[in-house]
Symmetry: C2
Subunit: 355 residues, 2 copies
DNA sequence: ATGAAAGCGCTAACAT
DNA sequence: ATGTTAGCGCTTTCAT
C-alpha cells in the first residue's frame, strides 16, 4: 500500500476538498470517462500493469486525482475472489501476550499488503462460531488461530475447506494446517537446569492445566533437566496450577497458611502464576529470592518490572512466523508447515543471581 | 450471527463432509435451483424477510443445508453498500492498554453483529496512510481511532468523508466526529488529593509529554487538587516525563545519582513511568512506600502486581463506548458525540496505606 | 408471496 | 497498448 505510484497519489489526494457531489461514489467508469480511456485501462493503471503507455497512465492518474477516486474493496474482492485480508482468532482470555503476537502478525501482514480481521472467541462455542464465520467464503483469505481449545476434529474439518489455516501454539496431527510453536521443552529444561545448577535441592513445580500442550511440554522439559542432573522430581512438590495469577496466589497462600516449609525454589510454568506466588509470599512477609528462588515462563511485560527470571517466549516472532505462513499459503509460496521457535532463559533477580 | 435460524443452520452444517465438488463455491443460484425458487426468494430467506411462506422457507433452508451454502461477504457488501465491519486504528506503541480497549470494542461490536478490522499505525505517516486506506469506500462502515498523534486538520478532513469516525482519548473541535475520553482531570485530582491528605508536603510530579491531552489534563487535575488544599506545587519537583518506563527509570536514576534528597511522594502521570521509578529506587536499595510514596495513572495490569496505587482508566468501557458510538453512527441510532468516562483511584500499598 | 432482471464496482479474457 | 464485454455473488426494485 505504499510502493505503488498509484496509491501514493491516492492517499495524497484523499483529503482534497469537495470535488463532485458527495452523494455518488466515484467509480472506474467516472475515471475512464474523465480520462477518455476504457475502464479496463483504468483498472490496469490501478493495478500497475506494465501494459499501459506512460502518457495514458499519467492521464488516468490525473483523472483519479481530480475525481478523488478510491477503489472499492468489496467489488475488487468479488471480482478477484480474494480479499487481501487474513483473519485472526484469539482466545477470549488474554494470556497476557496476545497483543504482542498480534503486533508480530501485523508487521508481516503489512509488509505484504495484507489487512487483518480480528475476532475473539469467548468460550468454546464462540470459537466454533467465529471460525465458521470466517470460513465463509469471501471474508478472509487465510486464518490464524491462536491457542484455541477446540478439538482436533474440528480443526481437521475446518482444514478441509479451501481456506489456509495457521495454528499458533497448537499442532494438529494429520491435518493440512501450518503451525507455529515454541520450544516449550527446551525452555523448561533451561529454567529447571538453571535452578539445579544454582544448587537447589527442593524444587517445587507449579504445573499448568492438564492436557494443555504447553503445560505438558514444559513438564517434559523439567523431567529432561532433572534426569540429566540426576535429580529426582518430588511428586509432592508438583502443584496443580491453572496458568492464572489467582491460581499461583491461592496455592502459595494455602501452602503458607498450612505452615509447611517453603521449598528452596519454584518453577512456575507461566509468569502469571509466578506473580501470584510472589504476591502471596509478600503478604506473608516473605520475599523472592530471599525466601525462595522463583522462575516463570513466557516473559510477559510485568516479569521485567518484577525482576522475575523467566523463559522468554518470542511472541512477536510467533506472530510474524504465523503471518508469513498464512500469506505464503495464500500466495502459493513455499511454506514450512511446522515451525518451532526457540525460547531463551532470561535471568533476572528472582533466583538471587545478579541481573 | 447467532439469533437467526438461518445462521444457526449454516454454522451447524458448515463442516458436513464432502458434498458437491470443492471446486466451485455454492451460490444463491445453486440454492435456488435446488429448492425450485428464485434467487430473490433465497435472498429473502437468508435475510429473514417475513414475506416468505413458511413452507418455502423450509425448502430453501434445506437446500442451503444440503449444499453447504455460505453467503459471500464481498458480494453482499457490494450489493448492500455496507460491510458490517468497523475499522480500528491503534498507535504503533502500546501504551499497555490497547488490548483491553480492543476487547471492549469487540464486546459491543459482536453484540451488534459487527466485525473488526484492526491496523496499527506505526509513526505519523503510517497513521495517515492507514486511515486513508480505511477511508477507501467499502472496507469498513466506521472507524475508531485510538489515541493517535495526527493533526486536528487531518482528522477534520477525514471527518468530512461519509465515514463515521470515533476518536478515543482525543477530542477534535469543530469536527463531526464522536469522541470517548476519560476524566483525566478528576482522576489526577483524586490522586493528588490522596497524597495531600496523607500529609505529604514535598510532592514531585512526573509529568507527561508536552502537548499530549492526557498529560495536560492530568496536570490540571494536580493543580486543582493543590489549589483546593492550599498547597503550592514546587516547580522544581515537576519532572519532564515521556510516559515511558525508561523515562521514569532514568529520571529517578539521575536524581538518586545526583545525591539529591528524595521527595516525600511522587505522582507519576502514568503507570509505566511509576514502575520505572520503582525499579530505579530498588536498584539503589530504596523502596516504595518506605522511602517515598508513589501514585501512578492508568491501572495497567502490572500495577496490581506491583501494588501500585493508581488511577484506574476504564479501558474496557472506553472500548465499549467507542464501539457503541461507531455502530450507532452507522445505523443512524442516537449517539452522544462526546463521552467522558469516570476514573477511580485504586489504593494499593505504594503510598503506605493498607490495601 | 414470488419471480425477472438490473445493477453494485471491479477485473480479466478476448479481441483488436 | 487499449477496448469490449462478460461475469464475480448478492440484493432489490418492479412486476405479477
Amino acid at each position: 500500500m505504499n510502493v505503488s505510484g498509484y496509491t501514493q497519489d491516492v492517499s495524497d489526494t484523499i483529503f482534497r476538498d469537495g470535488n463532485g457531489d458527495p452523494g455518488r461514489p466515484v467509480t472506474v467508469l467516472d475515471v475512464s470517462r474523465q480520462s477518455g480511456v476504457s475502464t479496463a485501462t483504468v483498472s490496469r493503471v490501478i493495478n500497475q500493469s506494465p501494459k499501459v503507455r506512460p502518457a495514458t497512465r499519467v492521464r488516468v492518474l490525473k483523472a483519479i486525482e481530480q475525481l478523488g477516486y478510491m477503489r472499492n474493496h468489496s467489488a475488487r474482492a468479488l471480482a478477484r475472489q480474494k480479499t487481501d485480508t487474513i483473519g485472526v482468532v484469539f482466545p477470549g482470555i488474554d494470556s497476557g501476550f496476545f497483543s504482542e503476537v498480534l503486533k508480530g502478525i501485523n508487521e508481516y501482514a503489512v509488509s505484504r499488503d495484507y489487512h487483518l480481521m480480528v475476532a475473539f472467541s469467548q468460550g468454546s462455542q464462540g470459537e466454533h462460531d467465529r471460525v465458521a464465520e470466517y470460513l465463509q467464503a469471501g471474508r478472509v483469505d487465510a486464518l490464524i488461530l491462536m491457542n484455541l481449545g477446540m478439538s482436533d476434529a474440528f480443526v481437521r474439518q475446518a482444514a478441509q475447506r479451501e481456506l489456509p489455516i495457521v495454528l499458533i501454539d497448537r499442532p494438529v496431527k494429520d491435518a493440512r494446517v501450518a503451525s507455529v510453536m515454541i520450544d516449550n521443552r527446551s525452555g523448561a529444561d533451561a529454567a529447571m537446569s538453571h535452578l539445579l545448577e544454582l544448587g537447589h535441592s527442593r524444587i517445587a513445580i507449579l504445573a499448568g492445566p492438564d492436557g494443555t500442550i504447553d503445560a505438558d511440554q514444559r513438564m517434559e522439559g523439567c523431567q529432561l533437566a532433572a534426569a540429566r542432573a540426576g535429580y529426582e522430581i518430588d511428586k509432592g512438590l508438583v502443584w496443580p496450577g491453572n496458568f492464572f495469577w489467582e491460581g499461583g496466589y491461592e496455592l502459595m497462600n494455602n501452602w503458607l497458611e498450612s505452615g509447611k516449609p517453603l521449598p528452596d525454589a519454584m518453577f512456575a510454568l507461566n509468569d502469571p502464576m509466578a506473580m501470584g506466588v510472589m504476591e502471596a509470599m509478600r503478604e506473608h512477609g516473605l520475599s523472592v529470592p530471599n525466601d525462595m528462588a522463583l522462575v516463570g515462563f513466557d516473559d510477559v511485560q510485568a516479569a521485567r518490572y518484577l525482576g522475575l527470571t523467566t523463559v522468554h517466549s518470542p511472541m512477536r516472532e510467533m506472530g510474524r512466523a504465523a503471518s508469513q505462513a498464512a500469506v505464503n499459503l495464500v500466495t502459493g509460496g513455499r511454506t514450512q508447515l511446522e515451525q518451532v521457535l526457540e525460547t531463551e532463559l532470561i535471568v533476572r533477580r528472582s533466583c538471587g543471581v545478579d541481573r
